[in-house]
Amino acid sequence: MVMKMENPDSEKNHIISALVEHKPGVLQRVAGLFTRRGFNIDSITVGESEIQGIARMTIIAQGDEKVLEQVTKQLNKLLDVIKVRDLEVENTVKRELCLIKVHAPTEKVRSEIIQYANIFRGSIIDVSSEALTIEITGDSDKINALTDLLKGFGIKELARTGPTAISRGGKTI
């Protein structure tokens, strides 16, 4: 779920990974806490984790260290939150999924767009006489680059999941 798409890769970005109980209201508790403590959320993704009944949340947020420390501690206090880690950006793999519906009224335009998609290892997942829909995954820079290129054709709709992340190597949070 992307809440705000302001340059999700700016340097004061934090990638917070949290294991939470997969229960109604948890997302609200977590998101509310960020707002109350004055921390801007760029995106939150939530989905099942390796443990049954436990979801993993990936929160991309920006703000200063001190506020972040406070937010992390407050998150830890939520009873539904089991573990929280501020992942080190260098030691983290981060991927985002994006679906882009591009204006494509002619054969020529369509083949141009498909070429671009191929370069970015995107795939075409829907075609109609006026539009193409591309699916692309990658880090946010890659997605930004493709969307910038496609802007010239006219992007009719765009949906980004916001990044989800996991730390490199054998360590877990």
Binding site: V20, E21, G25, Q28, R29, G32, R36, E69, Q70, K73, Q74, N76, K77, L78, L79, D80, V81, I82, K83
Partner: protein
């Protein structure tokens, strides 16, 4: 067994002997079941008072206080009380009625999203969706409310769930993998703390509400004695340390005592116990305890480093950590270097005690009233205060000796808290005298509950400090807003004595020296709820640190120590006055 009956049974099994509540449509099934049960229920006259009474009950006894209100407006009327309990870490359990599950989300009659509303002001909240979960939810609510850093819990209880038949009453708890409060402090940090303390020449202990909730008063006394450290407290820490002890410096902060503010400024080692360094305690943060190594012991890791940068953080229960710390200190035979300091503080402390008498002033000076309160009451008396000047006078001039004998809304500063909290405290501790000291403004916000103390014969004494002003706000207007008294005069009504009498409550007006003491003694002897309307001087101003200033910049302090009564040479300050009361 039905859901409502399961709730009642679990409450009773958990030791909730009394609940404060107010019924309504969505609670009809539950109230019908209460009718046949052993649960003692006190019908308040406003739900906010139910929450404050539960809070007073909790703070006086250390047990969970329980309140009940119907869905919608009943539940929202609890909100101020829940927020008050949250800010002061008080274990209050609120049970709110809710529309039947099939109507939730439809904007049904008297539906509010109580879970959403109370998320930021509870330690946790539960919506019951299956009556079979009720015993586990109630059990867990009590455990969560009391453990770690205590705090309020809300249970949202839909109407149909109250009537749902349980398959089986299972006395279990909810499993919460994300909740394991740390009790024992980190050994290495405790060692570092001990070493720092041993090296220090001017240690000061700052005790907060956490000392009281952890039951660590004895350990606090031991530590102070062992290392010759004077003790100051936050507002909520008041009563954690006997204030007649010559090393007690009273309260610290914006409205703190001079000796406390100046000693913290001078200290080279500040041991902060179970407190959260609120802005009202620290004053300007950059100037707080500038010479001290700060040791912060708190059960809530999020409080450590939040407002003040801490040198030695220790997460843990104040009692358990202090026990380990004292053990370490006792083992070390290095001679201490603190005797000179403690002697100095004791002397300074004496010099800060008001040397003048207020007996000749009319109308009565609040200081005189405080003195008479102290003369009339014993150290077992539980005092509650409202918010405003009345609260600060109590904090300054009324000495407490035993834990849980001073109950006040600190973090939220909720006017209207004092009287219902006293009601709850008296229900919890019937053997203790309970006296509420309120402002005339704050008392009027909750005066309808005179009906409750009368109907249930709860013999609290309410002292209304009647200055006909929203005194604390008026004080700021006098000090910082050129005496432009915008909407702080309360006018001539009501007649508090007649008001109380119309509820059938004993009442008396006091105007002269000596009358307060007598009226109080009479009230306590009568064994009846009593209101004492004490006419005081609206001109009296407390010494204080203007907002945005460091703790040593006290204005109006001559007022404690002045030799000539009547003269008011307080200096105008030009500092910004953000963050009012």
């Amino acid at each position: 067994m039905k859901g409502g009956q399961a709730l009642i049974k679990s409450l009773i099994d958990k030791g909730a002997d009394t609940v404060f509540g107010y019924p309504g449509g969505q609670l009809l099934p539950l109230y019908d079941m209460i009718y046949d049960s052993d649960l003692k229920h006190i019908l308040v006259r406003h739900e906010q008072c139910a929450a404050h009474a539960a809070d007073g009950y909790a703070r006086a006894s250390g047990k969970v206080g329980v309140c009940i209100a119907t869905s919608g407006p009943g539940a929202t009327n609890l909100v101020t009380g829940i927020a008050t309990a949250y800010m002061d870490s008080s274990p209050v359990l609120s049970i709110a009625g809710q529309v039947p599950t099939h109507l939730i989300g439809n904007d049904a009659f008297q539906e509010v999203d109580m879970i959403g509303i109370t998320m930021p002001i509870t330690k946790h909240n539960f919506q019951v969706t299956d009556a079979n979960d009720i015993p586990a939810i109630v059990n867990s609510s009590f455990d969560i409310a009391l453990s770690g850093r205590p705090g309020p819990i809300v249970i949202d209880l839909p109407k149909d769930i109250q009537e749902q038949e349980l398959e089986e009453y299972r006395n279990e708890s909810v499993e919460i993998p994300g909740y394991k409060p740390t009790k024992k402090g980190h050994g290495l940090q405790i060692k570092r703390a001990a070493q720092t303390i041993i090296k220090s020449k001017k240690p000061v202990i700052l005790a907060g509400g956490g000392v009281i909730s952890a039951g660590a008063s004895n350990e606090l006394k031991k530590l102070s004695k062992l290392i010759n450290a004077p003790v100051t407290t936050t507002l909520l820490g008041k009563s954690s340390f006997p204030e007649d002890n010559p090393v007690s410096m009273g309260m610290l902060g914006m409205h703190g005592r001079k000796v406390a503010n100046l000693s913290v400024n001078e200290s080279d080692c500040l041991i902060a116990l179970g407190c959260r360094f609120s802005d009202r305690t620290t004053g300007k943060i950059d100037e707080f305890a500038p010479n001290a190594i700060i040791i912060h012991i708190d059960v809530d890791p999020a409080e450590i480093g939040k407002n003040v940068d801490v040198d030695i953080p220790i997460v843990g229960d104040a009692k358990i950590v202090l026990q380990s710390l004292i053990k370490l200190l006792k083992k070390d035979s290095t001679p201490l270097n603190t005797l000179k300091w403690i002697e100095h503080v004791k002397e300074f402390n004496k010099s800060c005690i008001p040397r003048i008498s207020f007996e000749n002033n009319l109308p009565l000076k609040p200081q005189q009233v405080m003195k008479e309160l102290a003369q009339a009451l014993d150290e077992e008396t539980i005092m509650t205060t409202d918010v405003g000047q009345n609260q600060m006078w109590m904090a300054h001039f009324y000495n407490t000796q035993k834990p849980r004998t001073f109950i006040s809304s600190g973090g939220l500063g909720t006017m209207g808290f004092g009287f219902p909290a006293a009601m709850g405290a008296k229900v919890a501790m019937p053997e203790n005298d309970v006296v509420a000291v309120c402002g005339d403004g704050g008392f009027l916000m909750v005066c309808q509950d005179l009906a409750t103390v009368k109907e249930y014969d709860i013999p609290v004494v309410v002292c209304v400090l009647d200055n006909r002003y929203l005194g604390m706000v008026a004080q700021w207007q006098k000090l910082f807003y050129n005496e432009r008294m915008s909407h702080t005069h309360l006018g001539e009504v009501p007649d508090f004595v007649k008001l109380a009498e119309s509820f059938g409550v004993r009442a008396e007006r006091v105007e002269k020296v000596g009358e307060t003491e007598k009226a109080l003694k009479d009230a306590l002897k009568s064994g009846e709820p009593t209101l004492i309307d004490i006419i005081i001087d609206p001109e009296e101003i407390l010494p204080m640190v203007p907002p945005g200033c460091g703790l040593t910049e006290i204005v109006g302090e001559y007022k404690i120590e002045r030799e000539i009564p009547g003269e008011i040479p307080y200096k105008q300050t030009k500092k910004a006055h953000e963050g009012g009361d």
